[in-house]
Assembly symmetry: C2
């Protein structure tokens, strides 16, 4: 079942303009946790205070909710999804975006730097990543205004694109200058991410300090955070790595995830990127991000980078080869009014929900 | 006077392990604002709630404090600086670092990319910038642990460096997809910044997405935030720009600042970078950062990038030309136990306080 007892993702909802609070999704309903469990942490408007309690609390809560629902206690606290409004589930602390797909990094290298080796010399030695703008992370369904900027002449982006990604939400932080613990001690759960990208703005601005305005106008995440514990059956070893990574990046457990993504443009599937084939796994990203002594905070979000398989890229710039091979619709990038929806499922059919957004025309400034 | 009635920077302090609260510095004392003004916003542990009130409130509060102090009312709420502990004054939302010095960008270009033009083609057209890690911004005085990482072999950074910068604290935010207002509507004040940098880690990791672990282990800011209103007499037109910037980057007011920085290494002045000669001014940075529709939040911090004059660079990599010309002490980068202090003054002798930090040895991991 997509949203059955084995799933139970967390989100933040409100009813009739009331105060946002924490719920769990069961099929097409939201379980109102605060009254069910008698715990005020679920009356908070984000998951952060609950997530800060750590892995023991996450497991205990999930177990209790499963028990109650299995016994049919809780029915009075179920609210139909179509009666609620969903909000950004987390207060995002720092947002980091990685670049973990070999196919994506190679494709982008070929297009942005045609005269060079597609992969930079560091790429197979560390998960390349950078910080994005936490303040413009928005919940699925938020409309996305086409950004303006230097392309290099000034105007609305003519190459507005998507990046289909998988994101990891840090629940339990770590101290500055102390080594972080295991991946599942810190990471609470998984979201789907659309890292909207204005390719023309990005191509002009990104040297030498990386993407900035080409990405910072908006990043959408799914309204439901799937707990790591729901994904045990989807765990896989992760792609073979050559050269073998340094000690601190060695995989101590299987944290690859077998997630099948689908990207829909105006309802039509345009790509089906396989997350399981990513070169760098999320435990490696966490180890890398903290190896210099950087701390983690509750609410940190880090994303995989575009999930691209060999014939199933997670961005339009790859799908249409920067406009050289338009889609059937004739278009190569996003047009005003376009709606993009990214979904993902596990091998057992568990759904990670969706991240969706529609493009609004640029504001003339 | 350095910290007289014309200065009055804001900070967060505590006494005897008590709760941190907001104060204003007068000479070598802290004025305890909450009891003086009878306003609980100053009992908060960061400046954010006060800053969120906006420019009208900032000016009114400053005027009232100046009046009270001039009339000698307030003496009972002055606490000697040596009795208080200073804390990180703001809850940092997003942290952006620019690259606004022509000399710094040219110098780094020559060292990192010796076979190319020092400046990338975009540099004179937009203030190049990127997001840094907000969660590792620390207050002046915090000890800095030497980071480990790939250099590309794994180990403690052997090229630990400083970057002397001027930072701008956003007090009043702006809405997503709405144009931001004037610089002084949003920016509350100025801090000094030391953007610690591990050059060996940075050089290996930074292509193609920019600096990450080479910077994210720590960024220090001064404990005192100088209100923009205290800096009126230091305003200058800003360096001439060629080519003329695009409309949205046109300067509508003089927001260059005549600040004389001093960088001390273990007590000895090693450089005196002039902020007034920076190519891009902070109003231009704010306009650029938001032109794509990105919102500002209370607590956003953006920094100028290294302040380097022709013969007075704000980093050791420039001062020693990446080790080719060691300092008198024989060293080229930071050694364990080194203490770096950055200060700045205006033409009238007003002090912007200091940002200081001492290097702790790497933890063997």
């Amino acid at each position: 079942m997509s949203f059955g007892l084995d799933n139970l993702p967390y989100g933040v909802f409100s009813v009739d303009g009331g105060k946002p609070r924490v719920g769990v999704r069961l099929e097409d309903q939201v379980l109102d946790l605060a009254p069910l469990l008698g715990d005020d942490v679920f009356r908070e408007p984000t998951l952060n205070p609950f997530m800060a309690r750590g892995r023991g609390a996450w497991r205990a809560t999930r177990g209790r909710v499963q028990d109650l629902l299995a016994d049919d206690r809780g029915a009075e606290h179920l609210i139909p999804l179509d009666r609620v409004r969903l909000h950004l589930p987390i207060d995002v602390a720092d947002y980091v975006d990685f670049y973990a797909s070999l196919e994506h990094a190679s494709n982008l290298g070929r297009m942005f730097r045609p005269d060079e080796e597609p992969l930079k010399p560091n790429w197979r030695h560390l998960p390349v990543g950078y910080h994005g703008r936490a303040g413009t992370v928005v919940v699925s369904g938020t409309e996305i205004r086409r950004p303006c900027g230097q392309r290099p002449s000034f105007g609305p982006s003519a190459k507005l694109d998507i990046e289909a990604e998988v994101g990891f939400v840090v629940g339990a932080g770590s101290e500055l200058c102390r080594p972080a613990g295991a991946f599942d001690e810190h990471v609470f759960g998984v979201v789907l991410v659309n890292d909207w990208s204005a390719r023309d703005i990005q191509a002009w601005e990104y040297v030498p300090l990386g993407p900035f305005l080409g990405k910072s106008f908006a990043t959408s995440i799914s309204a439901w955070v799937t707990p790591l514990d729901a994904l045990d059956h989807a765990r896989v070893g992760g792609r073979e790595q050559d050269p073998a990574p340094l000690d601190y990046l060695r995989r101590n457990a299987e944290w690859g995830l077998d997630l099948a993504l689908e990207v829909r443009l105006n309802g039509e599937v345009v790509s089906t990127p396989p997350y399981r084939d990513m070169y760098w796994t999320p435990d490696q990203m966490l180890a890398h991000m903290t190896v210099n002594g950087a701390s983690l905070r509750t609410g940190d979000l880090y994303a995989s980078g575009t999930v691209s398989g060999e014939d199933s890229p997670g961005s339009l710039i790859e799908l249409t080869w920067n406009g050289a091979r338009p889609m059937k619709s004739g278009q190569s990038f996003l047009e005003d009014g376009d709606e993009v929806t990214i979904t993902a499922t596990t091998p057992s059919g568990l759904s990670l929900g969706e991240v969706t957004g529609r493009i609004l025309p640029a504001t003339v400034r």
